[in-house]
């Protein structure tokens, strides 16, 4: 009896929380089809005109491309840096390991705003112009520690024996890392890569502070919000959502299934 009441309550709570979690995105998609200009009821539509406008807006599509470029490149670099450092710190007893670990993970405890502002001040004082490059640098700063932490935490002792076997068979250190360690660590390497991409894709404040004419999608959406009242924002947001969901499903099918099998 009590068990049943409990599961009723659980079910109700699940429903409530998922309702809460899905509320904004539902509203967003709904209003993206609003025919009129104002995002208020009554609903008139459905209309696809805002989607047409978004797709015709070259600034938005450029920004989407910039975001993708920054996300892929910065995550790639972040994973390489994180992986190499994790390998070195997990396998060798270097001096001051605790300090190195602390230094490498320190950016995780600092707000993005401060990281962005620090880089902005430094680049200004050194006369480095702002561009997608500087945004990418900022994203590597926030994502490399994350990749390091994830990969490091998964570098268990059981891989050591395989690595040692490879070394005993005459493989060089670099070959061992490339052919033995990396494939073994692939699940966490991929996980940290995609997590980095997610963070970079949706990161606003660093991209806002460090970009100039070429901006990333969140920055473009922000300036869209600030440059005229129009529901294009809703359509743009819904499109980003659609693209992301397709991306996750593809990843799930193409990557994570394979990792699990392998």
């Amino acid at each position: 009896m009590r068990r049943q009441a409990g599961s009723w309550l659980s079910g109700f709570y699940l429903l409530l929380m998922y309702g809460f979690i899905y509320l904004p995105v539902t509203v967003l998609v709904l209003f993206s089809f609003q025919g009129g200009r104002f995002p208020i009821l009554p609903f008139n539509g459905p209309s696809l005109k805002w989607y047409r406008q978004v797709l015709a807006d070259s600034k938005l599509t450029d920004a989407m491309f910039n975001s993708l470029l920054v996300a892929v490149c910065s995550s790639f670099l972040a994973v390489i840096l994180g992986f190499l450092a994790a390998f070195a710190l997990a396998r060798f007893s270097l001096p001051a390991r605790a300090l190195q670990r602390a230094l490498l993970t320190a950016p995780l405890t600092v707000s993005y705003l401060i990281i962005g502002l620090g880089l902005l001040i430094m680049f200004n004082m050194l006369g480095v112009g702002r561009s997608l490059w500087t945004v990418g640098v900022g994203h590597v700063v926030i994502n490399a520690p994350l990749c390091f932490a994830i990969i490091y935490s998964q570098m268990g002792a059981h891989q050591v024996n395989v690595e040692r076997a490879a070394r005993d068979l005459g493989a060089s250190l670099v070959t061992t890392v490339w052919l033995v360690t990396l494939p073994m660590m692939m699940p966490s390497v991929m996980a940290s890569f995609f997590l980095s991409m997610t963070f970079s894709w949706d990161e606003f404040i660093i991209a806002f502070l460090l970009s100039r004419f070429d901006v990333t999608l969140p920055v473009e959406i922000w300036s869209l919000l600030r440059s005229g009242l129009n529901p294009k924002t809703n359509a743009a947001g819904s499109l980003v959502f659609l693209v992301s969901v397709i991306f996750i499903v593809l990843m799930e099918l193409l990557v994570f299934r394979r990792i699990k099998r392998g």
Partner: protein
């Protein structure tokens, strides 16, 4: 277990860790140094004056609206962290304990999917819901639950709602991961010894999931106290939090010394909280 390191080995090991260390030093530590330097300069008549002084910090102490921004930030962040925890814990518990094993991954995935919209847009969508003529008020008025529209948009409640929405998801994930690592034997043993479900939870499950809670809470704290977008979009300019004041110094007055000083204050606050939580935040390797 570990390789005995020859000199040559150590040199090679350095080669692996050096890129990341250098990157962190150049693009994380050095900018921080530049920021400290900047905070010790002054800005007079729109020109940065490179003389050493503590004016920016003095202003922080003297001007009440700076102080108020810090107080607002702390109040907001603590509220958000607590509310998110209280909402997320049961959710994580239900997913981990009550949802059948093979559906759990799907349940988590479903919880994450809505966060793949741009977060700028997500905050804005809350505005559509919470506004005076927004969906929530329309629904409440239509069902007769209220007679007058609730004033939620442009208040702290709106900001809290926007934040909690995101952090419930984040905390659910960290707490879920922690709950799954629990051995059911602990709870079973306690139950065998005659502890009721409530006592089992309070004395076994809760303390054992404390690390997960603390990691999640700290993440929430760091991300929340440093966020600019959510309070800017949902707060309606009725009160300012520290990141808003910092951004205002940059975008309106281009007062980098003052923005730098305020950022350092923000960083000190976060560091303090880090030290308080440090014992739960150690990075551990899989065994």
């Amino acid at each position: 277990m570990r390789d005995k390191l020859s000199r040559e080995h150590e040199v090679r090991a350095w080669r692996f860790v050096l890129p990341a260390l250098l990157w962190t030093l150049i693009f994380f530590v050095m900018p921080f140094g530049f920021m400290v330097v900047m905070s010790l300069w002054d800005r007079i008549d729109n020109v940065i004056v490179r003389t050493w002084n503590l004016n920016q910090y003095r202003e922080f102490l003297l001007k009440p609206y700076y102080w108020q921004a810090l107080v607002n930030s702390l109040q907001l962040t603590v509220t958000v962290t607590l509310v998110s925890l209280v909402l997320a814990y049961p959710l994580a518990w239900i997913i981990a304990m009550r949802v059948p094993e093979r559906w759990q991954r799907l349940a988590l995935l479903l919880a994450i999917i809505p966060f793949w919209t741009s977060y700028v847009v997500r905050s804005y969508a809350w505005l559509l819901i919470l506004a005076r003529n927004g969906l929530l008020n329309k629904a409440l008025l239509a069902t007769g639950l209220v007679d007058l529209p609730l004033e939620i948009a442009a208040t702290r409640y709106a900001t809290v709602t926007g934040f909690v929405h995101f952090f419930v998801m984040l905390l659910t994930l960290t707490i879920y991961a922690n709950l799954k690592q629990l051995s059911p034997n602990h709870v079973r043993a306690a139950a065998d010894l005659g502890a009721g479900p409530v006592r089992c939870f309070l004395h076994i499950t809760l303390p054992l999931t404390l690390p997960g809670i603390m990691v999640g809470a700290f993440l929430t704290f760091v991300l929340c106290i440093g966020d600019y977008i959510t309070p800017q979009i949902l707060g309606g300019g009725n009160e300012l939090v520290l990141p808003q004041v910092i951004m205002m110094q940059i975008s309106r007055r281009a007062d980098f010394p003052s923005a730098a000083a305020l950022s350092i204050v923000l960083m000190l606050v976060v560091s303090l909280v880090y030290l308080l939580c440090a014992r739960w935040l150690r990075l551990e390797r899989a065994r």
